[in-house]
Symmetry: C2
């Protein structure tokens, strides 16, 4: 019954970072610029929410049917989402935005939605790049975006056990600020950090840029509080348990289909005293993979461990501006034919362990300036996409993970598939999350935008690359399934896996109100 929360956040927008002149010059030379594609103002269709449903929702929580609020929760941040805001395609706009102020209110909202047969799309930071927050109504008469911005509290901190309970609507920076007052950090810094939320991290199995040190988000989670249509469920608790299957792992990655995550209990760590980031260069992709694998298999990973291939390194050096020429000259002097950039960052792990493991491998140290440059630009990727669209460039990313023995084959095959489909794209690749048995691969694709049908252009490329990815690795290492990866899920988990997810869904959400059209 708390109607005091205002809908203030999560307006559909990106904070565009303009491209510097030398970047535009490089783009024009290497990719080719296309015709600018400006944003067009969107209009919201009339809300389909019935007066009864509106009243019932308003009796338990804050509700808005304002066009601006609804449009602000009409999708995520994929290239296809961006195109929808530029006149290609139509975003799915929710019929209302509901913003509960407590876990109890979330439960009440779900009850109302069950009674009125309304679809519910949980909405955190709205940073999904796989269509995970599209306001689809499925078979329901209406759909509401369930905005979790009202769940913004740090519930508790146990400094001895180093466990904190955070509400789901807290963003990355807010979490760090709240925990920082107690001397702790979560250490979870994905590229979406600035806007994405704790609930979203949990619902999508997010992985941060320092995952080699802090682990993936699911590695940090001790327990999860979930509002489901059949009641509240607190799952997990002890640091480890053999009390049957780990049901917490069923909620993590459930993308809002099983319930709405309202609170997450997480392991925290002391704030790093002297974080340090450095740049290195190795000669060639294979040498870089060997380096990261050596660190991973010797327990010597830096917290941040990133390896860029030759193409990504070229771009990184081009965009480094005035420093680039000197670095390139130095690399020629050191006879590095195929420079691949390695960024290592230490926050809680031991630098000396890493450096000792590196001692047998040929590396060129570029020092802390290159590390600082990476830190400076670590969140720029998403912001620059708008600028690239403005310049007529199609830009999107793909990601996966596979075992070490397949890392290079997977990279080669994805590049081939994208080139076959897109003509002459620039395909950059990096490893950003390393494990003992394998690593993630993250691709960034740049190509002049098809002027007739930019949507089809990307969809074709996505299918070709995803077929390769699905054959050689996981369809997604940290972007989740959403809508965009659905066609490949069954190949990954089997038809039995799909049936199991359906069975759990039916148990927890018998009328199917939760996030229809996603994951399954």
């Amino acid at each position: 019954m708390c109607n005091t929360v205002a809908v203030t956040r999560a307006r559909w927008t990106t904070e565009t970072t303009p491209l510097p002149p030398h970047a535009l010059e490089w783009l024009s030379r290497r990719v080719g610029l296309g015709e600018p594609l400006p944003e067009v103002p969107l209009t919201a269709p009339p809300s389909a929410l019935s007066a009864d449903a509106f009243e019932a929702l308003e009796a338990v929580s804050f509700v808005s049917v304002e066009d601006s609020d609804r449009l602000g929760r009409s999708g995520g941040l994929s290239y296809l989402d961006l195109l929808r805001h530029r006149g290609y395609g139509t975003p799915a706009v929710p019929d209302a935005v509901v913003q509960p102020a407590s876990p109890a209110e979330v439960l009440e909202v779900l009850q109302v939605c069950v009674e009125h047969d309304i679809a519910v799309v949980p909405f955190g930071g709205g940073t999904s790049v796989v269509g995970g927050v599209e306001a689809l109504r499925g078979s329901k008469s209406a759909v509401v975006a369930l905005d979790l911005a009202g769940l913004g509290s740090l519930v508790s901190v146990d400094p001895v056990s180093r466990v904190a309970v955070l509400q789901a609507g807290i963003t990355g920076p807010e979490a760090e600020k709240l925990l920082g007052k107690h001397g702790f950090t979560l250490g979870h810094v994905p590229q979406s950090f600035e806007r994405a939320t704790i609930g979203g991290f949990a619902a999508t199995r997010s992985a941060g840029q320092a995952s080699s040190g802090y682990g993936r988000f699911e590695d940090m989670v001790e327990s999860v509080r979930v509002a489901t249509p059949v009641g509240e469920w607190v799952v997990g608790g002890a640091p480890a348990s053999a009390a049957g299957p780990d049901l917490k792992q069923l909620v993590l990655g459930s993308e809002g289909l099983f319930g709405v995550i309202t609170e997450v209990s997480v392991r925290v760590r002391p704030e790093p005293r002297a974080p340090r980031y450095e740049g290195f260069v190795v000669d060639g992709w294979e040498a870089g993979v060997e380096l990261v694998r050596t660190l991973a298999q010797n327990g010597a990973l830096a917290d941040v461990t990133r390896l860029s291939d030759v193409d990504e390194t070229e771009v990184a050096l081009e965009l480094a501006g005035s420093r680039a020429a000197a670095v390139k000259k130095y690399l020629r002097f050191r006879r590095i034919a195929q420079p691949c950039l390695v960024v290592l960052g230490w926050e809680c792990r031991s630098r000396s362990a890493t450096m000792s493991a590196l001692s047998g491998l040929k590396t060129v140290r570029l020092g802390r300036a290159m590390g600082a440059a990476w830190v400076h630009g670590r969140f720029n990727g998403p912001r620059q996409r708008d600028a690239l669209l403005d310049a007529g460039v199609c830009v999107e990313t793909l990601e996966t993970a596979t075992h070490w023995s397949k890392v290079s084959e997977l990279r080669d095959e994805v590049r081939k598939a994208l080139t076959a489909e897109l003509g002459n794209p620039v395909v950059m690749c990096h490893v950003s999350h390393a494990y003992e048995t394998g690593a993630s691969l993250y691709f960034t694709v740049l190509v002049p935008r098809d002027l007739d049908d930019p949507v089809k252009q990307w969809e074709r490329a996505k299918i070709a690359a995803s077929d390769v990815i699905s054959r050689l690795g996981t369809i997604t290492h940290h972007h989740a399934v959403g809508r965009d990866h659905q066609p490949w899920l069954e190949n990954e988990i089997g038809s039995i896996g799909v049936d199991v997810l359906r069975a759990v869904k039916s148990q927890l959400d018998p009328t199917g109100i939760l996030n229809p059209g996603k994951l399954l």
Copy 2:
């Protein structure tokens, strides 16, 4: 159709290690000896398997209805199991033992069992201490033990990714031997190591004595191949994924209720070059907990990290025989009032990191002899239980895990509960698995056996202790649920969690043939 496998293993037995005279003397003084309770020969009831079912099973796999084979798979190794072999209670004896020779044969056996409505109890090493392999038939007309001893191959090794595929029937020592030929180790060494199997480790979320270094068994698993009544399911694969919930975690810990694990793909590591184990002593339990927590929260745990409380340390020193007097004298000289033994062992982790983290803490080093003594006796616990029963002593263990802030309260409360229920037991406790946020606690209880009703004596104690454990921690950290922990499962995972498990069970095993009466 392979009937060549003979039923040779897993005869119900323990290799008893006799107690040395000084141990008996200590027992007599500190616990009190009771009347010896010899084993009595068991007789198997007639097999209830129909001729049709026998024929159908024999058409697809090796089947035995011999009494000795059936009796050999009539339970596990809990104290209550031991009592059943000594005239108190009756073991549940399977109507047949089926021993398939391949994953495909396991699938065929399950099909026959579905058709003939026969319950199936997967049987590995038979080391369950929670009733997990009791041959219960539930509502079925007959029950077979599905012995996995025929699945004994190392399927593949990927030395670059350090991933090996092991069949489910391989025991701990066999796994080490097979992997050792490739220079690798699994590093999974629970107390049941000598008999327990890969499939059992996976089905029960086992944790080994070096879990602080190698992780729990589920941490090692990349994927699992499972035979279910609805078909074969391979779940998991990539080193990490965000493709929906982690369904592999639903199979791990499923205790044979969802399917029969036939193969497990695991992360392996190079065999340790120079493993080293050392003994230390700290003054008092709290100082010991502080020490282990410091190591865990600074990334400085040894692979083996064990802390014994004062009572367990006293027993360890008593049983150390001739060395004990000198050690005790040395500890008095060092003014250690409340000696608590700490055993640290390094196999793959860095000893210098541990020692550096220890530098600010007061410890007395006992050196490598004490480490070697621990290694020497690391599997003795289960074997000595028979000798203790012979001496009229009730001996059983309890285990849990909780957050650091509750570790000491939980220990105190369990001791109180056991003392209230058992009179004047010796209750020993140790931490053997440490995490950043908490630790396991393992209790060993010794008390003279109640001559009238030893079963009730232990059941009462178990209930009292488990109520405390369930309130302050997980009902089981690494023994699994089986039959014995069922009453506390719902408190841990909620009624919603129980319903979710039931929904998954119905999906994968619609007729309910798999391991009835366990877990749920």
